[in-house]
Point group: D2
Chain length 157, copies 4
């Protein structure tokens, strides 16, 4: 896979968005099948001021970001053999259809890792399994996201 | 219902949390059956830099906040006749079990309104139906949240 | 709307499927925005032999059937002005992407009513809000279903 | 673990329920962490008469059955050291709170395998990850179920 291009996708998707940039989300790895992001704990992200836990909305945000980015990488990879420039224009059309988050354990920790794996990559819809762990391996939240994608059609040169 | 107390619950739940405070979420109304919050658009909350739309994680956050707050009000109201002080200590134990968000229309707008309605209020679990609209009435996101609550037992005086 | 055609769609969708036929599911009403089905209680559908309640899988089945049928009606209606015969061939391509069911109250009753309402009808994806009540109006289960549809393109005569 | 007792739980839960008995669901294995059921294809279970695929409601039913049975086994196992007879009476109180099913690939096959794994086993709520595959290993449906359980309290002898 074109690593430089994936880095660019990552940069645009995560680091150019004010909300996720403020959260200091970083892309650790990205293939067409899997993604790993990290999120450091910070005072802004505390949801429960008594117990110093991660806000549930933050967990949802980082998991949705992981899912959306993975869909972009999947669409991009599949398009490489075809019409790459056209596909790049369509990457921004990735949209979350729906998202379910299960909050399993309280969000205590210093560095959270969000991972995503493709459950099914269709022509129009991609389903992603999502997980959030802390630095001790505690399973904080599980999720499933369904995304709409636009795969650019083959166009003869 | 004790309006002053509900205001205090609202203040603690929404405005004391850094993440939702930064979003400028406000509680418009709160009963034991329904809640309404507002969220003004701001540059921080933009998810798509091309089309100036609300970030999906922000939508999830405000809907989860609406659901959690409604559960607190429901638990508080039911406890009024019983052991109120003990119940106040247990309010912080409201926790999201799971959340599903359906993203229906793109999150364009200036002022978003999040509403929640009780689907079922059990002794240990409350299910809430959630909705996010913009100022033109466009239905941005629908959701369902399941919350764990602790209802304080009657204790003889 | 062409009522005869909708009846035919209903008949094929619900009554020709062995599993839903055995359940005696009936279509009460069907428009492009709403659907109502009924399901009579029967010994086969009991999930809990102690308390004589409806099986959760039966509730999921009737709600998914309601959602799928509503999507067919929506797609059919929108295609009327266009290429109707081609659309009829594509009706069978309606497929459930995902489904969430919240079990609110125990499934006691003699006649259950499943209703569905369009939350958003897109070109490729339709989201439906679902509800199951018993004959006393008790809210048994709420649901949300996301469906993939194929809308036949306009083709000049 | 008391294997005889688990067999009895399995028999009561799956084979005594008319709806799942008619489906010929069998319990292949059951521990406090994992469950495996099988479901043979039959004419009754066909959802799409054109393509001979498993009905989506059947998939939901077998996955929900897997989740519920796993919760019973988990609760039973944890209670062994405590008040076993009381716990047996409470096993029937396992109830599905909510269920999400993602339909990944069309349900073609001759023998389907449903598996469940504990994501989190709490005192009152258990979350289970569910999967349905056919005999070729095709991933038909993924799911997540949340269940309410009653764990019998320790009572001194």
């Amino acid at each position: 896979m074109n690593t430089t291009m994936l880095k660019e996708i990552s940069r645009v998707f995560v680091e150019n968005v004010p909300f996720t940039k403020e959260m200091q989300i970083k892309v650790v790895s990205l293939t067409k099948e899997e993604v790993t992001l990290t999120l450091p704990m910070s005072p802004l992200l505390v949801g429960n001021f008594v117990s110093n836990r991660l806000h549930g909305g933050v967990a949802a945000t980082v998991l949705d970001s992981a899912g959306g980015l993975l869909c972009m990488a999947n669409v991009y990879y599949e398009a490489q053999e075809r019409n790459l420039n056209a596909q790049l224009e369509d990457l921004g059309k990735v949209g979350t259809i729906d998202l379910r988050i299960d909050y399993l354990n309280s969000g205590r920790g210093e560095l959270f890792t969000a991972t995503g794996q493709i459950l099914r990559a269709g022509n129009r819809i991609i389903t992603v399994q999502l997980a959030l762990h802390n630095e001790k391996g505690i399973f904080i939240a599980a999720g499933t996201g369904t995304y709409a994608v636009v795969r650019t059609q083959n166009t003869p040169a």
